[in-house]
């Protein structure tokens, strides 16, 4: 039995352009078989017992297998003129969808997993930052996150101290805002949309909305693909595969404040699909 709190959320299930081009995607959502298909010019998601509601947003198809508890989140920044919207594509990862999101919220791994790109020794220190649950929107936010990065983006030519804001607007989604290397004062927006196939398997759709009109699209995609494959080598080797919500199971530090808030937020809201409640 999957909890209604889990069923009533929105999840990404396809890239809209592919379905619009006539591709039919047979996939899974929360362990149920679903089909994403174009019917009479509209995208439809068919579940085992009928069709699910659909929202097309951020170039992706979103669906809710229950009764939507709220609207799908928005990212107003992506509509700013001059942004390149990059649908990176899909990466399948043998891990809990929640572990994939938590890793995206983490900066302390940059020097070791994305060595000489998003981080480098000896610049390993994570300065104190601020984390809050925003009650009005019920989202997890981390702000004033700073980190030294040798190559913060494909467009970055020298190492810079990057500022980040992180946001969890849905249980299997995270969006970050980071210093844009080419347009001072603007944020690049990068997200991961995670489709929970099962509790221990997910399809991850990285997404970017960048100020960069120089780098070819293929290179933007390849850069993000490289970063995410480095993350995958971690995600598929964490034990247990489920995200432990029992505080005794793993040892966080001050650098993990976002992860701590995310875990508490999931637990409080009963969003435990992909989580381990008690140590095995």
């Amino acid at each position: 039995m999957i909890a209604p709190e889990v069923l009533n959320e929105w999840y990404p299930v396809a890239m809209a352009s592919q379905i619009r081009a006539g591709q039919r995607r047979q996939t899974q959502l929360l362990g149920q078989p679903i089909t994403v298909v174009l019917t009479d010019g509209a995208i439809a998601v068919q579940g085992p017992t009928g069709s699910f509601p659909v929202i097309e947003r951020f170039g992706h198809v979103w669906t809710c297998p229950g009764t939507p508890a709220h609207d799908l989140f928005t990212v107003p920044e992506v509509d700013q003129p001059g942004r390149r919207l990059v649908d990176v594509g899909v990466v399948r990862v043998k891990c809990s969808p929640l572990r994939a999101v938590e890793n995206f919220l983490d900066i302390a791994h940059f020097p070791f997993v994305h060595t000489d790109i998003l981080g480098a020794e000896p610049h390993t220190e994570v300065n104190r930052y601020e984390v809050q649950i925003r009650e009005d929107t019920d989202e997890v936010w981390a702000t004033k996150v700073t980190f030294y990065q040798p190559q913060a983006a494909k467009s970055a030519e020298v190492g810079i101290v990057t500022e980040y804001m992180y946001r969890v607007p849905a249980p299997t989604v995270s969006v970050l805002y980071k210093t844009c290397p080419v347009v001072p004062g603007e944020w690049d927006v990068i997200g991961i949309f995670v489709q929970p196939l099962t509790e221990e398997l997910c399809d991850v759709w990285p997404y970017m909305a960048l100020f960069d009109d120089v780098t070819p699209m293929a290179e933007l995609i390849a850069f993000q693909q490289m970063i995410f494959l480095q993350d995958r080598s971690i995600l598929e080797n964490q034990i247990p595969r489920l995200l432990p919500l029992d505080p005794g199971m793993e040892i966080p530090t001050q650098a993990d404040l976002t992860s701590i808030a995310y875990r508490r937020w999931l637990k409080k809201r009963g969003l435990t699909y992909g989580a381990q409640m008690v140590a095995a």
């Binding site: 220190e125 034990i239 793993e250």
Partner: protein
Amino acid sequence: MTTRWIATGLCHDLPNGVVMAGRWHDTELAVWRSASGKLAAWKDRCPHRGMRLSHGFVRGETLSCIYHGWVYGTDGGCKHIPAHPSLVPPKAIRAEAFSCVALDGVLWLAPADVSEAPPRLGGLRPVRSLSLTCGLAALMAAESALAGKDILRGSVTFGGHAVEICLLVQPKPDGITLHALCGASADLVAVSRWLEALRFKAEEKVAE
């Protein structure tokens, strides 16, 4: 009496400054040697975020987790957390240690409270390790010259010579891994070929 020690590899596969994955029954371990040759085996899980320590890296007398670079000394205690360089890690942060001994060219694992010494295999030469998708029964059915349970021994004839063979059996969820040793004068390449043929035969027994 059966020993609690299980062979997890051969010493020549773990040079100084290297970490590898090990297993004691269902417990997955990270087995590593420091730059000076000190041996340690820990549960294959960084206490921080559960990452396999066997994917980590050795620097000097320490093993670091590949995820966030947490540094552990050969005693299992966390020495350094790169995200907080000035913090002295609490003593409670430590890898869970197993006993690990290198003896007669074999790496042996047992729970930390083991009291007896590992079995001795004096006079034999380590050859190689190989994994089989079948169980012990199929292996024994494939080669009648071998006898034993955790340690299979026997004299096998190939190339016109009788060769003393010793196979250390390491159970794993989907089969077994064998760590092979042979008589001191045997041809290592010939023994290796014989082992591969044995694997083929044993795995075929299951298919039958």
